[in-house]
Every structure is written in structure tokens, then in C-alpha cells.
């Protein structure tokens, strides 16, 4: 629980993609094999400073998402360390066969960075939402899948990825999110979930930008004497099953939160583990199986119950409070 920010601080203006880009630039200056590939997406990915500083290490492929993944696989086969930065909505769908075959099946050291993920492009409609990416990518053998909660975790994750040889899909959001960690001074380990708040009444398991919602909910519920465990499942594959089973045993009820379809994502992953090891009630909060409503991210989140109010209500129902 070191370094977890339990008091929400409003107004962080630094978005995760900027941190990802800065971290990559810092690392790429020391390692010329690190390449960043963009599909006319350097602006969206905050990679203009990278392109200016290290033009030889940025490969522009144009608006061609199948090609970007294939080229990255070829670069990796020759010893390069390619990071593909392309909108998550296209990268996880248009290029999925290249991800399956050229990257995962061929075991090429490619890092797939799905930018502006989930409902980051909330008002742009279903073409630009990526709400099936966890379901699709985590079903591909040999591919690991991650999503950072805030800017600090983004930095730690990208630092870890550079020397991690397994192919990885990472989804990051477009807009600044409130911090979950006080700083980046902590140990981050791929595949190892972080218990952000201790509690034995119920467990919230969240990923990405919903971790902050889980923390805020826990904070609010603590005021009425409900003590919630909060687990940040930044790596959905390989999944930290141990922490889930432990939570099921110690707290009983579980609520999962994700900026993803309620099908196939974190909720599914958690229930797969719980149902086969220590069955307890699980409620899956996420985007319903429909073209998601359009609007700003908080509006879309509220609509689907990804909010402190909704989590609090579901919690009280589950534990028969009051």
C-alpha cells in the first residue's frame, strides 16, 4: 500500500499518453534499437517531441494498421524493439490477425500501444471506441495485456516493458486522469496486482482509469464503516489469480470495474478464476453490450454505473447494508 494516494487530488493535467511518450523518449535515447511506429498517429500519441528528438527511431507507416503491426514484427525479428502507437480502436480490431500471427504466434518482441482507448473518444461513436480489446487480446496465446491506472503507473509500466521480451498489448487513455499513486517511487511488477486499499467487507477489482473510481468509492464507503479492498489489476494477462482467490476468501463479495464491454474483459477474467476456485458473488460493472452512448468520458462512465454513487449502491446491495 506504499505510495497509494487515498485522498483524491483533482486537476491533474498530465495525460498518460504524454507520460508514455516521454518515458519512451528517455529510454530510446539510450537504446537505438527502441523504435516507435505510428500510423499518422504521432500527434494523438503525443509523440511529436519523440519524432523531433529521434527522427531515425520513429517509423511512420501512414494510415495502415495492418501494415504497422506486420512491419513491427519484421523489425523485431531483426532485433529491434518496436513500440507500435496507434489508436486502440483500430489497432485491436483492424490489425488483430497481424497481432495474432505476426506478433503473438511468431513470438516477436513487439509492444502494441493502443492509444486513446476505451471511450476516450467518447463523442466520436462506436468506430472510435475500443471496448472489446481486452476480450480479444487476452484470448490470444503468447500475448500479455496491460492497462495503467494513472501517469505514475504508466511510467513504471513503460520502463518495465522495454526489457520485457514477451509481446504485449497496452491500452492507455487519452485524457488526464486523477492520480492513484503519490509518485512513481514504488516497485512495479508486470503480472503482480497492487492492493491499493485494505479492507475485508468487499473487494473492488479495477483496471486502468476505473482504479480511481474504486479508490474514491472505498473512501466514501469508509465513512459509513464499510471497509473495501481495492485491487489494481494493471495486468489482465498474465492474471494475478492468487490475489483474486485471496480476496474471494477474505472478503466474499467482489465488484469489478472496467472501461470495457461487460463481456470478455476484467469481469470475465475475475469470474473465471473465482468460479473455478472459490465461488463468491461477483458484479461486473462495465459498458453494456450495445453501441456505447456518446459523450465525455465521465458522462459515459456515469451512464454505465462506473461512478462512486453506483459502486456504493451496488456494494450496499451485495453486503445487505442497512
Amino acid at each position: 500500500m506504499n505510495n497509494v494516494l487515498l485522498q483524491k487530488v483533482e486537476g491533474n493535467k498530465i495525460h498518460n499518453r504524454k507520460v508514455a511518450s516521454e518515458t519512451l523518449l528517455e529510454l530510446a535515447k539510450k537504446d537505438r534499437d527502441i523504435l516507435v511506429l505510428t500510423s499518422d498517429s504521432r500527434g494523438s500519441a503525443s509523440l511529436v517531441p519523440f519524432a523531433d528528438a529521434l527522427p531515425e527511431q520513429l517509423v511512420e507507416v501512414g494510415i495502415a494498421e495492418q501494415n504497422i503491426v506486420g512491419i513491427a514484427a519484421g523489425l523485431a525479428s531483426a532485433g529491434k524493439k518496436p513500440f507500435v502507437a496507434s489508436p486502440a480502436c483500430f489497432l485491436s480490431m483492424r490489425s488483430i490477425e497481424q497481432i495474432k500471427v505476426d506478433v503473438a504466434y511468431s513470438q516477436m518482441n513487439v509492444k502494441l500501444i493502443g492509444i486513446s482507448g476505451g471511450v476516450s473518444y467518447g463523442a466520436l461513436g462506436m468506430t472510435h471506441h475500443s471496448l472489446q480489446d481486452l476480450a480479444v487480446t487476452r484470448a490470444i496465446p503468447g500475448l500479455h495485456v496491460m492497462m495503467p491506472a494513472d501517469r505514475h503507473e504508466t511510467k513504471k509500466m513503460f520502463q518495465a516493458l522495454v526489457n520485457y521480451e514477451t509481446p504485449v498489448y497496452v491500452r492507455i487513455g487519452r485524457n488526464p486522469v486523477n492520480d492513484c499513486y503519490q509518485s512513481d517511487e514504488y516497485e512495479f511488477e508486470i503480472g503482480k496486482a497492487v492492493t491499493m486499499n485494505e479492507g475485508n467487507d468487499i473487494t473492488f477489482i479495477a483496471i486502468g482509469e476505473t482504479v480511481r473510481i474504486a479508490l474514491d468509492s472505498a473512501e466514501k464507503l469508509a465513512q459509513v464503516g464499510i471497509h473495501c479492498r481495492v485491487i489494481n489489476m494493471h495486468t489482465i494477462k498474465p492474471l494475478d489469480e492468487e490475489v483474486i482467490i485471496k480476496a474471494a476468501k477474505e472478503t466474499g463479495n467482489i465488484i469489478t470495474l472496467e472501461e470495457h464491454s461487460v463481456y470478455g474483459g476484467l469481469g470475465s477474467a475475475v469470474t473465471e478464476v473465482v468460479s473455478q476456485n472459490y465461488p463468491v458473488p461477483v458484479r461486473i460493472l462495465g459498458i453494456h453490450d450495445e453501441p456505447a452512448v456518446t459523450g465525455k468520458t465521465p458522462e459515459v462512465f456515469n451512464h454505465y454505473g462506473l461512478s462512486v454513487e453506483s459502486v456504493s449502491k451496488v456494494t450496499k446491495e451485495m453486503i445487505n447494508y442497512g
Binding site: 501494415n67 506486420g70 514484427a73 519484421g74 531483426a78 500471427v101
Partner: protein, 276 residues
């Protein structure tokens, strides 16, 4: 033995190796593999710089078989070149064998897994681009099918190859004019292929893809133009070398019967005798 004769004999021997392999396994893309055998022999026995004892040698030329289904000739060539024991060909398509029905990079000599059409050229662009970035002189050869030209991803890669001036990249189209359903003209016309590639910025050269001397001449001479990738349009006969399989749609993945196998081996043996 004169080199040209050696290569021509080798192509026949390879055909005999994998026709037997397909017959014994009861599965395989017979016509497709017969079509590209001469191209593979030219590349692996003459044109490419390779070291079968050190398959990951950094300076090696790369071969990517985008038309992955024609894998039987590829397995036979890799075995004969010593990338793995020839004995292993007997395991082709058997339970848990690494010699599966498509190229598999668990096998030494295979760079990348293929089998889903339209993938190989993009991966090859990445390899060729890496060579440029590292100032290495290796070349990348990519074998595609002509039916495969319908895959849009090929044209994304074609654009990138020209944009990055990859003169170390050679695309080869095994242009036998047949695909599983029928002729490429009937299924989805792709002509004029030469003009399409030229307009995408590639240097295009047409050869008889079953003529060993021509293949060696053309494939050895790459890069042909500084700053441009090369596309070799290799006109081939599907089923080449077995009279009753040649230019026959049904032989795309037909497995020879006992009688067909006997006749095929007889015909191939007679072709070998020409060189004795």
C-alpha cells in the same frame, strides 16, 4: 557437375522428396509446392547467403514465404540444406510435429509464421528496414501467390517498401494463374499485375519461374535499382513436373492416389535421367 545442371537436378529431387512426403502423410498442397520449387531451389542453393549450421546468423539473407500453404517444397529444401535432419520429413503433419502445414518458426530456417495470406510482405518490409537502420547488407526475399494479390494488406506493404526505398527487398510472385476455386482471372482479376506494382514504385521484372537459369540470373542481380524494391513476376505452371497435375485447378491440394504417386515418381525419375 555444372552448377546449372546441379540446380535443375536438385529441383527434381526436391519434387520427389515432397511428393513422397505428401503421399505418405495424406495431406498437402501438391500443385502449389510443385509450382514454386524452382524458385526455392534458386534462392536456397544459389542466390541467398545462408548458413544452415547457424540459422540465426545476423547477416543472413531472409526468406519469407507469404504463400504459406505451399510449405511442402519449403520443408524439403530446408531438410536437404541441413537446417534439420531429412529423416524428420516423415513427421510432416503428424501429431505434434513441428513440420506443420504452414511455415513455423520453431523450425530452423523459418523466420516468421505464415499461413494467413497477405502478411509476409509487411513483415519483410520491417526486416529490410531494420537492415537499412543497422547498415547491414542482407536482402529479404518474399514469395507471394498470385491469388494472394487480392489481399489489401499486400498493397499497404508495397507502398511502404517504395516509400522507404527498400532496394534490399525482393518480392516474388509465383504467378501460376490458378487459385483454389479456379483461374485468377475468373475469381478476381488482378491484371495488369506488372503495371500495378510499377505504379506502386517497384522495379518489376518478368521471368519464367520454372526456368532455373533465368531465375538465378534475375534473383542474383538484386538490388536491381538503387532506392527501389524489386518485384519478380515469376510465370509458373501450377503442378510443374507432373504431367497430369500441371495447370490443373484440382491439384491445389489434391493428394496423389497410389497410381498417381507411382506415375509421378516415374515421370520425375525420367526427368532426372536427362541430366545423367
Amino acid at each position: 557437375m555444372e552448377e546449372s545442371t546441379f540446380l535443375k537436378r536438385k529441383a527434381i529431387e526436391i519434387r520427389m522428396d515432397f511428393v513422397k512426403m505428401i503421399y505418405e502423410a495424406g495431406t498437402g498442397h501438391t500443385g502449389s509446392s510443385l509450382s514454386n520449387t524452382d524458385i526455392l531451389v534458386a534462392l536456397f542453393y544459389k542466390v541467398m547467403n545462408l548458413d544452415p549450421k547457424n540459422p540465426k546468423w545476423g547477416e543472413r539473407d531472409r526468406y519469407v514465404q507469404s504463400k504459406g500453404h505451399a510449405v511442402e517444397s519449403y520443408w524439403a529444401v530446408l531438410a536437404d540444406k541441413g537446417f534439420f535432419p531429412k529423416e524428420e520429413l516423415k513427421t510432416y503433419s503428424q501429431f505434434q510435429s513441428r513440420l506443420i502445414g504452414h511455415p513455423n518458426n520453431k523450425v530452423p530456417g523459418v523466420e516468421v509464421n505464415t499461413g494467413a495470406l497477405g502478411h509476409g510482405l509487411a513483415v519483410s518490409v520491417g526486416m529490410a528496414l531494420a537492415a537499412k537502420k543497422d547498415s547491414k547488407s542482407y536482402r529479404v526475399f518474399t514469395l507471394m501467390g498470385d491469388g494472394e494479390q487480392a489481399e489489401g494488406s499486400i498493397w499497404e506493404a508495397a507502398m511502404a517498401g517504395a516509400h522507404y526505398k527498400l532496394d534490399n527487398l525482393v518480392g516474388i510472385i509465383d504467378r501460376n494463374r490458378l487459385q483454389i476455386t479456379g483461374s485468377t482471372d475468373d475469381v478476381l482479376s488482378n491484371e495488369p499485375l506488372d503495371e500495378k506494382w510499377r505504379s506502386f514504385g517497384w522495379e518489376v521484372i518478368e521471368v519464367d519461374g520454372n526456368d532455373m537459369d533465368q531465375l538465378v540470373d534475375v534473383l542474383s542481380e538484386t538490388p536491381r535499382v538503387t532506392g527501389k524494391p524489386t518485384l519478380v513476376l515469376a510465370n509458373t505452371l501450377k503442378g510443374k513436373g507432373i504431367s497430369f497435375a500441371e495447370n490443373t485447378v484440382g491439384w491445389h491440394h489434391h493428394v496423389p492416389t497410389k497410381a498417381e504417386f507411382d506415375q509421378a515418381m516415374d515421370e520425375l525419375s525420367k526427368q532426372l535421367e536427362v541430366f545423367v
